[in-house]
């Protein structure tokens, strides 16, 4: 129970910080918007194309925007060296990590909530598509990216070129999740097939990597 309170405190603190400083949230949103706009120039935004590759376009946009949010997860702690403060506290590392997972997840979802309708408009997604299926995919897929990305964000703050290293570490590991979320989304954008299998795979990915990230939290959250 105490662990849960610590996780909640970390989570609430992160969100409060983001809401107060607003600048990064605004910047992330605008960046995500730019990605979608650039995509509509790079690809013909016709309904027929969306039916074929819309899932891929949507998730690449989410991934780019997400990388900015994920980078923030631990970079937020650098200016005042608050990370050292966190690490000197007796709080279990796994609880801190769990709080960070949750705050990254919520921030990414917030950006995606704005991005998804925008994408639907710019890429002429039919309003009749099965939205609940897409939303479930987004939730499962975002958790997959948030968990792995937050862990690697903790890893990359110790390194040189940290902003570059995060995608280098994250992208190879999330390949199976990316395949699953793109395929599941595509099912609802007009390709025949069932999303069940992909949801199960995404759920499995989420469970496995959340567990691993919490188990190995000590390794990246350690005072040197």
């Amino acid at each position: 129970m105490a662990d849960f309170r610590i996780a909640w405190a970390t989570f609430a603190r992160d969100l409060r910080l983001e809401l107060r400083t607003r600048e990064s949230l605004n910047a992330m949103l605008f960046y995500a918007l730019l990605v979608v706009v650039i995509f509509s120039f790079a690809f013909e935004s016709e309904a027929e194309l969306t039916a074929r590759v819309g899932g891929g376009l949507l998730w690449v946009a989410f991934l780019f925007a997400g990388l900015v949010a994920l980078d923030r997860a631990f970079v937020r702690e650098l200016p005042g060296d608050t990370l050292t403060g966190l690490l000197l506290s007796p709080a279990p590392r796994a609880a801190l990590m769990a709080g960070k997972f949750a705050s990254s997840f919520i921030l990414m979802l917030a950006i995606e909530t704005v991005l998804l309708p925008l994408f639907a408009v710019l890429f002429n997604v039919s309003p009749a598509v099965h939205w609940s299926g897409i939303v479930l995919t987004v939730v499962l897929g975002t958790w997959a990216l948030a968990v792995t990305g937050t862990y690697f964000s903790a890893m990359s703050i110790h390194t040189r070129h940290r902003a570059l290293l995060l995608p280098l570490l994250l992208l190879p590991v999330v390949i199976p999740a990316v395949i699953s979320m793109v395929q599941a989304t595509q099912v609802f954008l007009g390709r025949s097939g069932v999303a069940d299998y992909w949801w199960k795979l995404l759920f499995g990915f989420d469970v496995v990597f959340t567990t691993l990230g919490l188990l190995l939290a000590d390794i990246v959250l350690d005072v040197d």
Binding site: H158, T159, R160, I175
Partner: protein, 240 residues
């Protein structure tokens, strides 16, 4: 002014022994693969790249497995030697998987008519390659010290659980690859001489991998010894 002697681990003669053994087996393998083994019925001479393609993949997988075991050992024991094994194995693995990924398209072009296809096995190979390149980059971009091996070992654990998930995702996504020829059903299989050539080539590649790994291992341990000596010198300067 006397230059302090740096304690350097004595280098045994193993390199001469293992090196010449590897070279011999490699030459025998080359002879068996290119001249002695019979020509394949449909693919003709192109099939002979098989004796490089398969052993390279085999060696790479063994190297990645060593990397995993060494990484877990590092996390449990925090031993420098385990970490040195992990780096050496990852580098050797990337080199051999690169050979596999380069010979693949060369073979595929005349036979399948295309360089590359996103079929399950090819994709998985590529994903594995991408993963271990990112592992080596992480090591390169992390400052030396205790942190570097720790982060690298954690990443290796992530890879370990990621591979089976990848396997399922990719298999569901794309399966068009020809079924395994070697242990496939009736009608498939190799001529006995082909097995011999393949086995010898595998042995040659494994030996080569081993020699490279040992060399890299010693280099890594030398580096640690050098770092220690430097640190000792610095402390001496401060103290005296």
């Amino acid at each position: 002014m006397e230059t302090p002697a740096i304690a350097r681990p004595a280098r045994p003669n193993w390199i001469v022994l293992w090196g010449s053994l590897t070279l011999t087996v490699l030459l025998i393998g080359l002879y068996l693969a290119l001249l002695w083994a019979p020509e394949e019925a449909t693919m003709g001479i192109y099939q002979r790249i098989f004796y490089t393609h398969v052993p390279a993949a085999f060696t790479a997988f063994v190297a990645f497995f060593i990397n995993l075991v060494a990484s877990v050992l590092y996390l449990l024991r925090r031993s420098r030697l385990a970490d040195a094994w992990a780096v050496a194995a990852a580098e050797v693995g990337v080199v051999f998987l690169s050979i596999n990924l380069i010979t693949g398209p060369i073979w595929a072009k005349p036979i399948w008519g295309i360089w590359w296809t996103w079929d399950a096995r090819l994709t998985l190979d590529l994903v594995l390659w991408v993963m271990y390149v990112s592992y080596l980059l992480l090591r390169q971009l992390t400052p030396r010290g205790d942190l570097q091996p720790r982060l690298a070992a954690a990443l290796a654990c992530f890879f370990f659980v990621d591979v089976p998930i990848n396997y399922m995702a990719i298999r569901w996504w794309r399966t068009q690859h020809p079924q395994p020829v070697i242990f496939g059903g009736p009608g498939s299989g190799l001529a006995p001489q082909m097995y011999v050539a393949l086995a010898v080539c595998c042995m040659a590649f494994m030996l080569l991998g081993y020699v490279l790994l040992r060399l890299r291992l010693e280099q890594e341990m030398d580096r640690h010894a050098l770092d220690d000596a430097q640190r000792a010198l610095l402390l001496e300067d401060v103290g005296g």
